[in-house]
Structure formats: C-alpha cells, structure tokens
C-alpha cells in the first residue's frame, strides 16, 4: 500500500516498511520584494556611513588631536581704527557699529621663535576679512595691528559676530588657536 502525505514544504512517500520524506530543492516561498527595498536601504546606509567617516577624517585633519604646544599669544585688545593714519583709537571694546572701522592689537612677544603663526579676522559668515602672516612671531613683530577690511563692493562692515584668532600653522594648515576674541558689529 502506498500513501502520500503533503504539508507546505515537503512530500512524504510511505511504502511498506519505509517512509521517505522528500524536501523540495528550491524553496516554494515567493521572494518578498520588500527585502529588495530593505537591502537597497542598507546599501545607501553604507554609503552614508562612508560619508560621515570622511567627514570625521576631515575634522581630525583640520582639528588634529594633541596639538597643544602650550604657547599662548596675547591679544592686547580690539579698538576703533583709523584707516588713514593706521592708528588705534580709544579703549578696548567688545562691540562696534557698522560704520566703525576696528582692528585687533596682538603682542607677539613670548611666543616661541620657531613656530609659524598668523592672525585672522572672520566675519559672521566665516569669511576671512583681515589677516597678518603667516610667519614666525619675530618677523611679525611690527605687524601687531590687524584691521578688519570691508569686503569689496560693500561700504561698511556686515553686522554680526566677528572672531579674531591667532593661530599656529603646521604645513600651511592652522592646527591650534593661540588666542581668540569675539566682538559684535551691531545692526
């Protein structure tokens, strides 16, 4: 006598004295297309991971860890500035109006002579709007006043926070801030 039993995934043949279970060599379950979407998403996520890793590498390149030389520059102050005479006017201030020219005064004394430094002004949009250097502190000795330059096409400084930094450079890349001041240009 022979009987055949079916279930969802296999067929069982039963003859006298033996029972043989036959499993299909190819799965009968239909492939769910959602898995294609899922795998595509995982591929995109891998690319995203690479992008973020590249971002991290970029961050570490421009902001290398362990770059603390111990050197400290001294910013004497930020003053109103007379572009005609090149002289500073008045006392140290934290804010200016748009039509006031201003400049920072840096003391290069006390910095090691073998390092490369520069000093820069960044406006509120991150553009460099004034710079001295790069060079060694001894060569920059006379260039202690760093004025903000009004960008071409504009009549006055743009309002917002301006950041002044004295930086140490290594292979042409700023790696450490030796001093920093932030001032406000009012609207």
């Amino acid at each position: 006598m022979r009987s055949v039993a079916f279930d969802q995934t296999s067929v069982t043949l039963t003859t006298r004295g033996q029972s043989i279970r036959l499993s299909p060599c190819v799965t009968t379950e239909a492939y769910d297309q959602i898995l294609t979407l899922y795998r595509t998403l995982l591929v995109f996520a891998t690319v995203a991971g690479v992008i973020l890793a590249v971002g991290l590498v970029e961050f570490v390149y421009f902001e290398p860890p362990g770059q603390t030389s111990g050197a400290r520059a001294r910013i004497v102050g930020v003053f109103e500035y007379d572009p005609a005479s090149g002289q500073l006017v008045g006392s140290d201030r934290a804010s200016f109006t748009r039509n006031q020219a201003f400049a920072a005064k840096v003391s290069w004394l006390g910095l090691p002579g073998d390092i490369t430094v520069d000093a820069r002004w960044y406006d509120t949009f991150g553009n460099v709007v004034g710079r001295v250097g790069p060079s060694t502190p001894s060569k920059l000795g006379d260039n202690s006043i760093v004025p903000v330059v009004v960008p071409p096409g504009l009549h006055h400084n743009l309002p917002g926070h301006y950041t002044f930094v004295v930086e140490r450079l290594q292979n042409g890349v700023p790696v450490e801030v030796l001093a920093r001041r932030i001032v406000l240009v009012e609207r």
């Binding site: 297309q33 959602i34 998403l41 995982l42 690319v47 992008i51 504009l154 309002p159």
Partner: protein, 461 residues
C-alpha cells in the same frame, strides 16, 4: 454593531499587544519632545539672552497650542460623525490661536528687530506658494492611495514650528562652544555640519516617527513614509527660508541690496532647493520607517529605521560641510554654477529617494492588484474583475472620474472618486492582512466592504 456611525473601520483588535506598546512609545517620544522644548526655551532665555532665546520662550505657548490642536484634530477623524465636528472646531480654534501667536512672536522678537514685520510678512508670503506647490507634488507622488491632507499638513506644520523650535538651543549651544574651542575653517565647518545634520534630522524625524506610531492606518509603506518625510522637510524649509531671507535682508539692506539678497535666498531655498534640500533628507527617514513597517523581523525593522536616519544625517552633513568647496563666481557663470552645485551635491541623494519611491510604488501596485484580483474572485461585488485595470492605473481612474463628470457633473465625479478610494483602501487592508502586518480585526475589513456596497448604490453605472 452599526457601521454607519464610523468613518474608519471599528476599533482594532482589543487584544492586540501591538497597539498599547506603540502608543506607549509614542507618548514617551512626545513627552521627551515637550520636556526638551521647555528645557530648551528656559535655557535659551536664562543663558543666551538672545533674540532666538526669547522667541523660544514666548513661542512655547504657541507650540503647546499647536501640538494640542494637532492631536485633537488628528484624533477627530477616528471619532464618530456626531462628535467629530465638535472636535474639529476645537482643533481649528487651537491651531488658529497657536499660529497667530507664533507669527506674533516671530514678528515681534525676531524679524521686527532686524528687518521689520512688513519684510517678514512679504518673505513668508513669497514662500507660501512654493511650499504649497511642493506639498501638492509630494502628496501626488503617492499614486495609488493619497495621504489625507490633514496628516500631510500636520507633518509640514511640525517641520515648520516644532522641529525649528527643538533645534534652536542645541545648535546655538553647539555653535557657541565650537566657536570658542575649534580652529576656524573646514574643521569648524565639519563640526557645525555634524550638529546641523544630527540635530535637525532628529527633530524632523521625530514627527515622522510619531506618525508611524500613532497613525498606522495611514502609514502603509515606503511610499507613505517618503511623502510624510518630505512634507516635514518642506515645512522646515519654509521656516528656515523665511528666517534666512529676513536676516539677509536686514544684513544687506543698508548696503542697498537687501531685496536682492532675500530674493537670492528665496530662489536658492524655495525653487532650486525645494525638493533637493530638507525634503530629500527627511524623506529618507520616512523611507526607513516605511520599509520597517512591512518587514517581518524586529532586527530588520531596527536596521531599516536606523538606516533612514543615517542617510538623512549624512545627506544633510555633506551639503553643510562641503558646500564651501564649491565656491560661486560673481560673474554670470555663477548662475550656472549654483545650479550645478545643487545638482552635483544633492542630486544623487534626491535620485536615491526617487529610486526608492518608484520601486515602492511598483511594489505597492503589485500588491494591490493581487489583492483586487482576490477580492474580485470572492464575488462580493465590491471590486469587479473589469474594474481592476482601471483601479490599477491612476490615468484610467482619472478618465473614469472625468467620464462620470460628463454624465452627472461634480457630484458624480466625487462619488466615483470616493468609490475608487474605498476600493483601493480595501485592497490595501487585504494586503496588510495577508502580510500579517495589521492589528485591525477582520470586522474592519467587513465594514469597508459594507461601505463599498453602499457607495456602489450611489454611483451611476
């Protein structure tokens, strides 16, 4: 049980364990958002003493009103017809008050002090039609079963008001800290880009997560996820555009080209970047949630959701961090460069979203056709075999509605539209049931059939 009093199928399986857990997670997420908003506002006010800080504090009431109004409004549609109107009116009043208060806060504390309320209003007006166009396009992308306007608008409102409020404190704190610690330049740019990508996408993504948890019946698959995600992104883009336009107007107006600066921002954000920016980023979060909706295993669901967030953060980061590597000339060629920059930097991400969307639409259509065939085979009369090719094609559905319009005017057009919509709803319900990804009981499906049969009586042959 009377089916006539329900607008959607009756309550889901009361014994389902999925629902309470889902709602519990949603309540926890909402509570975290509220606490974060309150803490952010107070910290901004106490420590930053800046205009955004005051906006954040005084805007808190507006945010609370909008959140409450939204909740009541969304839930109103799951109530019976008798009390729905009352709840909708309550929601409308709360939303109206919240919106007015928010606009007042923005006008008074932000734009009035920089550009003035008139400029702020003009900028907002300029951004309204483009954002509305974006929402219209995004909603129409769902060819088979369009999402309800109320949820699309809720998503956009969250992006515009709640998400922007959530990120103020975090981004301000991050920026102030990094500006005092890091070397200005690409490193600082990268740090700021990480902050924007992470905080803004988490804030926007929370809206999509809440929709995924609470409005499961209207969150079917990857297509719906992309629609909701893009809507949140468009809302965020609207508020960010207004803020940037008014700020740049105030900055450059004394130089004589305030309107030029504002107009340039409008073009960059509301025309060129309408679909390429925030809409694309947050669409990825929606795609991840939409795929997770239909995956069987918890581990896969988690990976899909995390992947969506990761792609959104990376896409946002790449723009913010590397846009300065593509400087724009001040010559006429600069106009070409602006377009090329957007196309090169964000184009691949938008193309990836479109690929997911197209595949999702195709996958959804296959599932719906299969279910329509099975429903037609039952002989219940809800879907007839000859209707399947029409229902499967948006264009043929439109032609059928237009034919009804020619026969019986607008009422006939809308009756056929309701019938088609209910037929697709039934197919969708069957699809989810067959895939075992629905916790509504079988009675819900029967209620849909009953409604379809009633609709069929109203529609002329």
């Amino acid at each position: 049980m009377s089916t006539n009093t329900y607008t959607t199928p009756p309550a889901a399986n009361p014994h389902s364990r999925l629902r309470p857990l889902r709602y519990g997670i949603a309540i926890a997420v909402a509570a975290v958002v509220v606490v974060a908003l309150i803490a952010s506002s107070l910290l901004n006010y106490v420590y930053l003493d800046s205009i955004p800080g005051r906006t954040s504090l005084y805007g808190l009431l507006a945010v609370a009103l909008i959140a409450l109004g939204t909740y009541i409004g969304v839930r109103a549609f799951t109530r019976d017809r008798a009390s729905r109107r009352k709840h909708l009116i309550r929601a409308g009043v709360l939303l109206g008050l919240g919106t007015l208060l928010w606009l007042l806060v923005i006008d008074v504390f932000v734009f009035t002090q920089s550009a003035g309320p008139g400029v702020a209003a003009l900028c907002a007006l300029a951004c309204l039609p483009t954002t509305a166009f974006g929402l219209l396009v995004v909603r129409r992308m769902d060819r088979n079963e369009k999402e309800p306007w109320r949820l699309v608008l809720v998503a956009a409102a969250w992006g515009a008001i709640v998400a922007t409020s959530l990120v103020i404190w975090g981004e301000t704190l991050w920026d102030q800290t990094t500006q005092r610690l890091l070397v200005p330049g690409p490193g600082l740019d990268a740090a700021s880009a990480f902050s924007a990508g992470l905080l803004e996408e988490l804030a926007k993504g929370t809206a999509v997560v809440l929709l995924f948890l609470v409005m499961r019946n209207d969150f079917d698959d990857v297509v719906d996820g992309i629609v909701y995600g893009a809507a949140v992104g468009l809302g965020f883009n609207f508020m960010e555009s207004v803020a940037y336009m008014t700020n740049l107007f105030a900055v450059f107006n004394p130089e004589g080209f305030g309107w030029y600066a504002a107009g340039f921002q409008w073009y960059g954000r509301q025309v060129l970047g309408l679909f390429f920016g925030h809409a694309t980023y947050t669409a990825f979060i929606g795609a991840g949630l939409g795929v997770a909706r239909q995956l069987p295993k918890k581990r896969q669901k988690a990976f899909a959701i995390i992947s969506g967030f990761l792609i959104a953060i990376a896409a946002h980061f790449s723009w913010d961090a590397w846009v300065t590597f593509f400087p724009i000339d001040s010559t006429l060629f600069g106009l070409v460069e602006i377009h090329l920059r957007t196309l090169i930097m964000t184009g691949p991400f938008t193309a990836a979203v479109i690929a997911l969307l197209l595949f999702g639409i195709r996958y959804e259509a296959m599932g719906l056709v299969d279910q329509m065939q099975k429903e037609a085979a039952t002989g219940s009369g809800t879907i007839l075999p000859e209707e399947i090719p029409i229902l499967a094609s948006p264009w043929r559905r439109l032609k059928q509605r237009l034919a009804a319009f020619r026969r019986g005017g607008l009422p006939a057009y809308f009756k056929v539209a309701r019938l088609q919509s209910a037929q697709l709803d039934l197919a969708m319900e069957r699809w989810h049931r067959e895939r075992q990804e629905i916790d509504a009981p079988l009675e819900a499906e029967e209620a849909l059939r009953q409604r379809l049969i009633e609709l069929r009586h109203w529609v002329p042959a």
